[in-house]
């Protein structure tokens, strides 16, 4: 009961025009940063952090939350309209969002993405507000062994993603793993594949790689197709409201609930970053769907799964931050810095000493996510204008922004050079008809996988000791099961194709 009273007080405090305006501004800027490929949500939060010093602690934290929410959800806009994810969390939105846009259903895709982003966030915020302390302890149960289990499980998702052409998928994935090896090895810092270059010592940074593989390769592919003369602009079907019917909405609910749970769960675990939650939810949805072959051709299920999950990660990541003082990902690490600079407690005493700030954050989350819904709803008409901009003007603009964004990651030209490298890699993949998703997934997970394996062995002294831990066993054996089942399915498909060919020839 006390909690509800405090929450009510927090809402009352926030509902002043000044703070509402600030939060709206935060959400808008977040959406802009999130939707531009090259700029990301974490960059937006990093830029806003110094701005919050002149505000009261509560207002400052609310601003950061607003930017974070706007940033994560903004990624879907460019993912759907341009086939370039604005943030790492929206990678899987491209797979079905862009085909839908090409069929003329961009408005519907955006509608699905926006509404389910909203729902995913709301779900995780409700859990955050009412169940945070209980769930925070789960975060502590995940030692490096369990984190290795999850990373391994995520890696086997490659097998699911690559169904239909498993050889190509695994090939692409292995290449991704190789790229993730470049740099200093985790823990002991041995230089690998650095060829003496000091820039390569830190390895390839995640954001430039993603920008390169998705955005730059897309620019190259578009440039190639434009060289052939014709460039038809897609006619977009006009939409009413959010673009989809009530029946379609209800159909997506089980998918959404499952994805929201995945997103929140991954957010709670400090060891796994938020960028994988979207992809994992997508793959799970594909696996458990009755029509998996439609995924990748414009099936709204894919968009719903990804966007619900990546927004649910926001609330999940704040649970260990607010209860234990342990940040779940890069953005929450900056929020932790924000807490400390304002002189707030950051850790178990936050709820005790600065409860008003905490409840302020809960209230701000709900308000910001509602603002996000409204801003994006009215923005749909503006966003789709992007489709009307001639590509030969839009693409160079995006190229420049990508270079700026890559440089801004670490302030060095090397990152700009790497987006060009990965752009080329992505383009070659397209040419050879290799799927890029396994590459990206393995690249993202590769570093985590090795780090946790080595830390786990350092702690438990042998790999065998891992198997004494039940959570690890669960993930590990499910992963093995997924691999075995995928290979079996693939083999059956191969046999049936052979049979069909045989009957055709006879």
């Amino acid at each position: 009961m006390n909690a509800l009273i405090s929450l009510g007080n927090a809402y009352a405090r926030i509902f002043t025009p000044g703070s509402l305006l600030l939060m709206a501004a935060g959400v808008s800027v977040g959406i802009i940063f999130g939707s531009i490929p090259g700029l990301s949500a974490s960059m937006a939060v990093a830029l806003f952090l110094p701005l919050t010093f002149s505000m009261s602690p509560s207002m400052g934290m609310n601003m950061l939350v607003a930017v974070y929410i706007g940033g994560i959800s903004g990624g879907l806009i460019s993912a759907i309209l341009l086939n370039m994810p604005g943030t790492a969390s929206s990678i899987a939105t491209c797979f079905d969002g862009y085909p839908m846009a090409q069929k003329g259903e961009a408005g519907k895709a955006l509608g699905f993405g926006i509404v389910f982003s909203f729902l995913g966030s709301v779900f995780s915020f409700i859990i955050l507000t009412f169940c945070a302390p209980m769930l925070a302890d789960i975060a502590l149960k995940f030692t490096p062994a369990e984190n290795f289990g999850i990373s391994f499980f995520a890696l086997t998702m490659v097998a699911v993603l690559a169904s239909g052409s498993m050889l190509k998928g695994v090939l692409a994935g292995m290449l991704g793993l190789i790229f993730s090896l470049v740099g200093m090895a985790p823990i002991d810092g041995t230089a690998r594949f650095t060829f003496g270059s000091s820039s390569l010592m830190a390895g390839y940074d995640t954001l430039p790689t993603l920008i390169g593989i998705f955005a730059i390769s897309e620019i190259l592919i578009t440039a190639e197709s434009m060289g052939h003369g014709q460039m038809e602009t897609i006619k977009m079907k006009p939409i009413k409201g959010f673009g989809f019917t009530w029946k379609e909405f209800v159909y997506q609910i089980p998918n959404a609930i499952r994805s929201a749970l995945i997103g929140t769960g991954i957010g709670i675990l400090p060891g796994i970053g938020g960028s994988t939650s979207g992809m994992l939810a997508y793959v799970t949805a594909k696996n458990m769907s009755k029509h998996p072959e439609e995924f990748g051709k414009g099936c709204p299920d894919g968009i719903v799964a990804t966007e619900t999950a990546n927004n649910a990660t926001i609330g999940g990541a704040m649970i260990p931050l607010l209860v234990l003082g342990i940040p779940g990902d890069g953005v929450t690490a900056m929020m932790l810095g924000g807490f400390l600079i304002h002189g707030l407690s950051a850790g178990p005493l936050l709820f005790v000493k600065n409860a008003d700030v905490v409840y302020g954050i809960f209230a701000a989350c709900m308000i910001c996510v509602t603002m996000m819904l409204l801003i994006e709803f009215f923005g749909i008409k503006v966003f789709v204008q992007l489709l009307k901009i001639p590509k030969h003007i839009l693409m160079p603009l995006i190229l420049v922004l990508c270079c700026v964004g890559a440089y801004a990651t670490n302030n060095r030209i090397f990152d700009v050079q790497s987006i060009l490298l990965f752009g080329l890699v992505g383009y070659l993949y397209h040419k050879f008809r290799l799927p890029t998703t396994p590459f990206v997934l393995c690249f993202l997970i590769g570093k985590m996988l090795e780090t946790y394996l080595r830390r786990g062995i350092m702690q438990y002294k042998s790999f065998g000791a891992f198997f004494q831990r039940p959570i690890f066993d669960a993930f590990f054996f499910v992963a093995i099961g997924v691999v075995v089942w995928s290979v079996y399915k693939e083999y059956k498909m191969y046999l049936s194709k052979k049979a069909v060919k045989a009957t055709e020839q006879s």
């Binding site: 952090l49 823990i187 010592m201 830190a202 940040p327 001639p390 603009l397 700026v404 670490n410 350092m458």
Partner: protein, 352 residues
Amino acid sequence: MKKRFLATVMAAGLVLSMTGCGSSQTQATKAAETTKAAASSEAAATKGSEAAGTEAAASTWKPTTTVSIVVPAGAGGNTDLSARVFAEYAKRMTGADFIVVNANGAAGSVAANQVRSAAADGHTFLYGHNLVNVANIAGVTDYNYTAFKLGPTFALDPAQQLYANPQKYKTLDDFIKAAKENPGKLKACTEVGAYTYYELLAFEKVAGIDLDLVDVGSNSDKVAAMLSGQVDLMPGAYINCKDYLEAGQFVCLGAPTKERYELIKDIPTLTEQGVDLVYPNCEFSFYFPKDTSDDVIAWYDQLVKKMTEDPEVKEAIAKVEMMPYYLSSSDSEANDEKIYNEIKQIADDLAK
């Protein structure tokens, strides 16, 4: 045709307003400005050499564009927080723009390399406490503080204290006793080749115990590992651990300092308790590219001296649980040499 033109203008306007709006701290403008900085730094240099004849004491240099404070650590640690305090108040006091760039990775060498190859115009510097020295001693890099020109020292954080689980060990003696009874079993967390790595190695030697050193990651990972009972000992900075101390989830076994600092006056030193270990404090100084002019260094010297005497700055530093600590650039260089030798000594002793 008109609609397409309008759409193009809108998109261009969006881009331009994005780069122009917000504070001048936007990285987009900064990236554009660093290309201008090359031109403007030349202008500043000529201005400086003209005026140098007139004023002997005061520096004639001033930052002409955004200054990047490169921090070899992630957000939320003591390095990052004190850098942010500096940036905020330097901006207020001088009007110039200061931003913090987190360039963590590769034992701090990403940040160090970035600064080494940056223009020596005073607009980029490394801010840290001896990571360049520790990385060199650990063999990660082939250069140490001598590859940079030292600027002033700004803040001090007492040498990282040792924290443990109060349910298992109530005092330092409890811990040492348990360590002696279980050689190689009690786990202490650190990162290979890091500042705390040599601290723990020295602690082991002085206390005569054998701990199991494991890498669990950075600050937050260490806290998580401690809370979940995976490790028994954690060297940590006061600001990152004080809440857990107050909540009773951690106990501080001792601080490896010569005497008790006011900041952590309730924590006994290791020396008081019979373990004679004094480890270098975290003294945060500025490292400039080697060819930076003395004018630039003098300007920063004056600024930091003024800041450490300003009550508002002192309060802000105290809020992040650190102490203002001014050393001139020449003193900072001597200090770095001292600390480098101290840690090298520890490393050499262990190699024997």
